[in-house]
Symmetry: D2
Subunit: 346 residues, 4 copies
């Protein structure tokens, strides 16, 4: 049994990790930390876990935590992660970090969009953990930067087009929509039920969202040229799910059927990417609670644009599920182990 710690378990990503790990036959969760709620039973914080997790939340003392686990999931805010990850690594532990701290190839990019980087050394060796892009590197990694939720949906949506040079990269626009769990569990007026319910809005409009450099880094690597995109996030009055509607101009004439065939071939061996038949459009409702990424394709022949629609559960394929998938790859478990829960519908 692999001994695993979940660090920073008081948020929605933390509890989702605990939900998924409970069903994983090769894992034992041996340590759960939360600074705000240390010494409280985790089931007090998340009554869903009552009767199945008897653990008490611990303080985040890195050395002690490292003593209890071989693999550590850090579900901390950015900056907080890079304050503790170096210790874990120094003590020979492997880490899947769910913050933004280890997602960038270039510290300068991180520093432009976030703040000074405290651990540039480890940043250099960290692997951006999108299995569909770099499964082999993940397998050998000690430190995985688990992708952001929006980036996962956009990168998987565009990868086959970019790798095959079928679109003009300067025309990419991703209009993305997220459920409210993406905003976290902090007590803010903006996230109150009555503020979110029965409303729909954009936020971070105009090229300012911090997921943009992450998306651009990966798209640029896939295309082999530097790509700048327009990205607009929106807030949907629902708990879970991200849907990205991605626009780009096709460089040639391609029918939907051709593109679906291309995608189906490209993702043929992927256990969690489902390419929908032509005429089908993804819904977040059909991936809810699961690790799937559903992708649908359309062509607007009037304007020569392709429209890719991708749907994930932001807490699963967009966070905790992808982290478990990365763990499976790192430890040689079957990649779908613990992740075969089908979507919950309705």
């Amino acid at each position: 049994m692999l001994k695993v710690a979940v660090v920073g378990a008081s948020g929605y990503t933390g509890v989702e990790l605990l939900r998924l790990l409970y069903c994983h036959p090769e894992v034992a969760v041996t340590c759960i930390t939360s600074e705000q709620s240390a010494s409280r039973p985790v089931a007090d914080l998340f009554p869903t876990l009552r009767g199945r997790y008897a653990q008490v939340l611990e303080n985040l003392e890195p050395v002690r935590v490292a003593g209890k686990a071989d693999l550590i999931f850090t579900a901390l805010p950015h900056k907080a992660a890079m304050e503790v990850v170096p210790t874990f690594l120094k003590l020979g532990k492997r880490v899947v970090d769910l913050s933004a701290d280890y997602r960038f190839c270039d510290a300068a990019v991180y520093e432009k969009w976030y703040e000074p980087h405290l651990d540039p050394e480890n940043l250099k060796v960290s692997v951006y953990g999108l299995p569909e892009v770099r499964r082999e590197k993940i397998a050998g990694a000690c430190l995985v930067g688990n992708p952001g939720c929006y980036p996962t949906s956009v990168i998987l949506g565009l990868m086959p087009l970019l790798k095959n040079g079928l679109i003009d990269p300067s025309t990419i626009i991703s209009d993305s929509k997220s459920g409210t769990s993406g905003a976290g569990r902090g007590a803010k007026v903006d996230n109150l039920f009555c503020e979110v319910n029965e409303g729909f809005k954009a936020y971070g409009v105009g090229g300012v969202h911090r997921h943009i450099p992450e998306i651009e880094q990966e798209l640029s690597l896939l295309a082999g040229e530097r790509i700048t995109i327009t990205f607009t996030p929106h807030l949907v009055p629902m708990d879970r799910g991200i849907l990205s509607t991605i626009y780009a101009r096709l460089t040639g004439n391609h029918s939907v059927a051709e593109l679906v065939e291309l995608y189906a071939g490209f993702y043929g061996g992927e256990p969690f990417v489902r390419v929908l038949p032509a005429g089908n459009v993804p819904s977040t409702a059909h991936v809810r609670g699961s690790n799937f990424c559903d992708i649908g394709l359309s062509v607007d022949s009037r304007t020569g644009r392709v429209i890719v629609v991708s749907a994930i559960d932001n807490l699963v394929k967009g966070a905790a599920g992808q982290a478990v998938q990365n763990m499976n790859i790192m430890y040689g478990f079957p990649e779908t182990m613990g992740l075969e829960l089908l979507p919950v519908f309705p």
Copy 2:
């Protein structure tokens, strides 16, 4: 008192007309029809109206209806409208039609996207009823084609940019999202609570939605050149509201401040268009139940694109409220009469 009929009152647009007209001091609703529910009290169909509307729903016999009213709101499905409107007009009545039947300058466009047009004569004289675009023509019209919900949000969002030639028209993309009342009150599995709730999806992707030719007709008139756009509608798990996120490439360098100033000036005299200060983004929650159209502006300087976000209540400014606004203009009532209800929040 102006005698008014609401024809086709069993849907969400019909009941919204009744809600608004009840507060209008110059109007008496003298006839309400519904084929499916004729002879039932309207309050049976819509318990919200109990105690305030005593009327019984009538069959739609055009001559009899015309005998009871001076102005007729036709809230029928397309095709059903053009089957009765000619009779109303022949009998000297004025009509605000909320279907698509009288929105197009060119019958051929209607026939390409809908079906053979049964009343091309009256189509020629009908006026597309977007007050912010052609208030004077509406004032003198006998027949107003009340705009669609999506078109209202897109056209108002783009008008100042197009009229001032600030964007490249070939780059326009509108990613639009609608609450579920836009799908009507028909009994379909797809619109059941459990199918819609906790999900978000696109539909009609790839240049096939029937609001496209309506949007393009008006944008082309505003720009003075033929415009083709990409338009993707989405379904939001909420009752009311449309938010359109509209992208286009700016032809020059313009700051957000400049654009906000332009819009504020352009819409300065408009009672129902609210241009938000820079940095503010509209939400459908802030227009719910009201006739407002809120517009926010952003510039993505990294890509040279402007992003316009517009929000309306699809049943008010997107349908019944705009119809009442048109009536006010046609009869010389103050344009805001009966429409000064503030948004309901939360």
Copy 3:
């Protein structure tokens, strides 16, 4: 024009007052206060008001506020209200207080369920502002204690039965359900969208909710004997609305038809109470945004119990609307003035 102040306008009750007062033809809102947001435009706090309320929020300095208005709505938390109301009254102003501070006949009851009462003098002269119960006293009152939301739904639901002695008062149980706006606009984790959405729960179970003594006071007065009830509140994943399902054993044999007739007669002259025909059950959806209280009646002949179901909008008839109704009564305006907005559906 009556000059009116809204004190404590940063919550949902405050904005609802502003929404309703905007449509009231005899009222000018001359002062709006909020301690937390003083000096900010009210439209910043509530974008729904943009373009219609130009006011800036003021500090709550009672003497200055009193100088600007004749009637003051205090939408403050309990305790905060009784700290300022005495000043308003001393300066000859009339007050409708929406907190619990002036709802009780007996200071001791208040002190048992809340805390020491700071203004027992004025408590003695305050009038419990449920128009259907004591319209005449309200008309002459300088200080009205505006009823709580749950109490409004329960008292109106039971009044005809109690006044006619048709039920055994020791068997009364009210199982009540409220939308989330009842929990206020405070930033608490429990009220986050993701905590409330897709869940349903009871709270304050076991005779501990502070609305209990208020309900019991009024029911006891109506029955002419001391009544103790069981009351359980619940939280519904929706913004607005209260539905109370009230159980009691009938003392005699009464058919639903008889009871409906009794209620219809009892409430015949009431503009805002709608008694539903037998076989109809109220829904909060049918009163949303309006000042109505809908009441439906059933008899379980198997067990001899009557089941009364009452529905209100907690922010309107349960708070701001009732406050405006009280104002209308106090100033001799038509009781429905400004309150004829029909429910918003859907």
Copy 4:
């Protein structure tokens, strides 16, 4: 591997069975039927299953179905079930029926609340499948009548009190609330998103809901005397979940602590019943997607009543999960096999 058929898979219970059975290591789903959608891939009907269920829906020809499976789950409407179950049994198959057809000891009761019973012979041998009540009988049964959703929540909520004679059975009232999936997947206006969302209502008030005789049968057996209850169902604007708030007068003085201890002991060995510590109240959000039944206890010492609150997921412990639990018992699998999915939160 046990070969299993799911008959009537086009509804929410059917797809939930497929979701749960997919994770069950001892089961192979060999046949899925749907009359309305025969010959369509099941993933067309439920895109959640895409890539995991390749099956095509079949017609319901009982002999052919029986030839493919050893255990048959009938997720049909009542009446439709008893038309095919006799054939399955005759052919030596075991059946878990999720309709009401085999839940009653007495055909006369069924006939009073439903319609003439077509299979009274098998009704006599069927076992009411609430494992916490009669696990042994289920183990040996060929035909299990899987309990209704409301009854499961009420019976588990009251069992310890009744078995210990702590309440006056004539005072039992269950005020129960269900998510909308309980209303099924039929295309009805009443269940449209816009009709359900943002509203809360009672239905079937006054002792008329068909789950009443089922509840009374089981409560009477537990108490050893004939029990008649008042039961009111309500519709909550959410997908899943039932919360029952159950009232009864205590025959003696009992503290909450005592009752919690009693329940904790009573349900100590039960894998799916979680008794909450005093002061905690269940929420449907904390059992969503899982087979748990959470129970909280309160005493209203002012009125001498106990208030039991129980929460289940109506599609899991209230239907498909309980059916799988029964299957596990019938075949000697560990009772929790395939049912260890933790609740999905948020």
